[in-house]
């Protein structure tokens, strides 16, 4: 812990040389968003090219800075760039600055790299959409907000990016908002995210109240003086924020509906931006969580629950995108679990996040390619046998599939296996509960991902008559190939070589040598056995046997999983309905009580005035009489007082 605090509160050097370009990382995509959204129809012709080029340029800047960082010593790889003073209010100073360190660099490369590939893919995918330019504007805004989030050097600046991501996701999920269901999905995502944002804002308020600062450096330096209760409260509120953005239990309900957006958006949300923000927040706030073991335990529990939850839901979905969404939920659960384990898990959380970014983007874009060829159908029971007609998509999707189930040698194997090992570290009941959850999750993941793969690409052709599947154009398949290569080899590159571990050590600290509850080799063997068992079960159920075009009724668990384990129903009956009753009764009280009192008073005065108005008869003599009477009264009163 001591090393961790020292590492993160270490004064970051000022940015000079290539690092003074850091602001460009955020500014480039932001410029794209501004030009495309403000330029209007004039930018229609080149909008998609500009939109794809600017994140690409940001990626180039990122790579240059990455190389420059590699050339520096491990201990001074944190560089901050001060941009401007935002809130100079007496004792409270908030400066907007960017912080480049190994952790944010990982995210910058992931966001800009995978993000650019998704942009390129979108050129082909959205070709026939009349609003393609607007789409690219939103995508750029999304990337810019996410980059601001990971590059921020204070929680308040991070919060700006955090909200920007929420806004951009809302705009993109509801991109086809002429469909009311899609607009509702966007709203659901936004509202669920607001609940999380509330947590983050409360955490920031606690920081300000307790420490008087919101910058990373200040908070981590002062965190040591906090009482454990305060640190726990702060950690839990940060976790609530992370749960909202990362779709963790109990705020995960928006993720499935978020599939309403165009498929590249799903890829962007699930791989490079948005859902990774929660994991980033927890890892970045490591010094706070280190001081609050209870909050850490809650993080692990949330991760474990979500990973099982998502895996179960994924098994029952027939909609290819929703199955992948459930899988994201589950994989992010793994990352959360790892992030909650402390220094032993941080590296693997980020590692899995990076590999997941590649294979999940590949899977989603592959699903988009399938939909592109199948008239936007998403029902996997209507797919089947696509391997022969869509060879590139088949191979790239296949690599993504092998990577996510943890096929030995591919990316997912290295990262997920490490998380399972980390979950088994420790003593007492924890390694058994969390380790077993992670282990079982791996088996179930293998089952549902194999199911997705086999239903889509193998078995009998169950297409409806009017579809003529075809391979997608090159502009879509090239990003798929690059992502597939990443899915295959990224793990090998970063995992067994220890490259990522050494790279992240200045930020996440050095984990102590901790032994697992079971020997390491047995864990690897167990994982592989479970993966093979899961895949084999899927093979026997969905390839050896005939797959009906209409879904069978299924067991009670299947039926429950199809409706997201009744999460929506629960939310509706526990939160939405009472909320509606509350607002309705408030409206009633407002209309009848408050408005009634005000309107009643006004009516009373109006009515009385109406009566008094009758005094104005228009007869001069009656006015004269009242003047005379008044004068007589005054005189009488004066006389009376005198006497």
């Amino acid at each position: 812990m001591g090393t961790l605090l020292a590492a993160q509160s270490h004064q970051a050097a000022g940015a000079s040389g290539v690092f003074s370009l850091t602001w460009l990382l955020v500014a480039l995509p932001m410029l794209g968003a501004a030009v495309l959204l403000l330029g209007g129809r004039r930018t229609d012709r080149f909008g998609h090219l500009l939109g794809a080029a600017l994140p690409g340029a940001a990626f180039v800047v990122g790579v240059i800075e990455f190389i420059a960082l590699l050339g520096r010593d491990g201990s001074d790889r944190a560089l901050s760039q001060h941009l401007f003073s935002w809130v100079p209010a007496g004792g409270f100073q908030v400066d907007v600055g960017l912080l480049v360190d190994p952790l944010s660099m990982c995210f910058v490369l992931l966001i800009t790299g995978v993000g650019t590939l998704i942009h390129v893919y979108s050129i082909g995918y959205m070709e026939h959409d009349p609003d393609r330019r607007r789409f690219f504007g939103y995508l750029n805004l999304f990337v810019a907000a996410m980059l601001l989030l990971v590059l921020a050097d204070s929680y308040l600046t991070l919060y700006v990016g955090w909200e920007g991501v929420g806004l951009a996701s809302y705009l993109l999920i509801g991109f086809w908002s002429y469909n009311p269901a899609y607009a509702a999905a966007a709203k659901k995502a936004f509202v669920a995210n607001r609940v999380g944002d509330f947590g983050l804002s409360v955490a920031i308020m606690i920081m300000f109240a307790q420490l008087g600062t919101v910058s990373f450096q200040g908070v981590f330096a002062g965190a040591g003086h906090l009482s454990e209760g305060v640190a726990t409260a702060m950690g839990l509120m940060l976790l609530l924020g992370a749960c909202g953005k990362s779709a963790q239990f109990p705020l995960q309900s928006w993720l499935g509906d978020a599939m309403a957006g165009p498929t590249p958006v799903s890829a962007l949300i699930h791989a490079a931006t948005m859902v990774t923000a929660g994991v980033y927040l927890v890892v970045r706030s490591a010094p706070i969580f280190e001081l609050a073991p209870n909050a850490q335990l809650v993080v692990v529990i949330v991760g474990a629950v979500t990973l099982i939850f998502g895996a179960i839901v994924g098994c029952a979905k027939d909609d290819i995108k929703k199955a992948l969404a459930a899988s994201t939920m589950s994989q992010i659960g793994y990352m959360m679990l790892a992030a909650g384990l402390g220094p032993v898990g941080y590296v693997f959380a980020i590692f899995h996040l990076l590999t997941h970014g590649f294979f999940k983007a590949g899977l989603f874009l592959g699903a988009g390619s399938v939909m592109h060829g199948m008239n936007d159908q998403v029902d996997m029971r209507r797919f089947g046998g696509l391997a022969t007609v869509m060879k590139v998509t088949w191979i790239t999707f296949g690599l993504g599939w092998l990577a996510i189930i943890g096929f030995p040698g591919l990316s997912g194997f290295w990262s997920k296996d490490k998380i399972i090992e980390a979950a088994f570290v420790g003593d007492g009941w924890r390694p058994w509960v969390f380790g077993l959850a992670a282990l079982i999750g791996a088996g179930v993941t293998a089952f549902y991902m194999t199911r997705v793969f086999l239903l889509t690409f193998h078995g009998k052709r169950r297409w409806s008559e009017d579809v003529h599947p075809h391979e997608s154009p090159l502009v879509m398949t090239v990003p798929l190939m690059i992502l597939a290569v990443g899915s295959a080899f990224l793990g090998l590159l970063l995992g067994p070589t220890g490259a990522l571990k050494t790279w992240l050590e200045p930020v996440t600290g050095v984990p102590g040598d901790e032994s697992t509850a079971l020997p390491l080799w047995s864990l690897t063997v167990l994982t592989v056995v479970l993966v093979v068992a899961g895949a084999g079960l899927a093979w026997s159920m969905y390839l050896r046997e005939e797959v009906p075009v209409t879904a069978p009724r299924g067991s009670w668990l299947t039926r429950a999983a199809r409706v997201d384990l009744y999460q929506d129903a629960l939310n509706e009956s526990l939160l939405m309905r009472p909320g509606q009753y509350l607002t309705r009764s408030l409206v009633y009280a407002d209309n009848r009580g408050i408005d009634g009192a005000v309107n009643g008073l006004a009516a009373l005065i109006g009515g009385t005035s109406g009566r008094f108005r009758r005094l104005q008869t228009g007869f001069v003599r009656s006015y004269a009489l009242s003047m005379f009477g008044g004068a007589a009264l005054v005189v009488g009163a004066m006389l009376l007082v005198r006497l």
Binding site: R613, R614, Q616, T617, G618, F619, V620, R621, A624, L625, F628
Partner: protein, 99 residues
Amino acid sequence: MNPMNYVYLSSFLFAIGAAGVLLRRNAIVVFMCVELMLNACNLAFVTFARMQGNLDGQVIAFFVMVVAAAEVVVGLSIIVVIFRTRRSASVDGANLLKY
């Protein structure tokens, strides 16, 4: 002679004027009654000035006369206009300005 008699006379004239303003319908007569009230006041002012032994009341009486003269000009012209348009100078007839 007891100066209070002038005060009594003044009150009497004022009462006649007030009664005329309140009771008569002819605008000219009402107008004359207003003048009567003004002059009753003048009489009272002058009497009090005499009783107090200074000139304040007499000065004010002059002011009242000037104001009354101006008022006559405005008032009579209004009455003439009303008479021309309505063919009557009844104060009860001109009652359009009401609720």
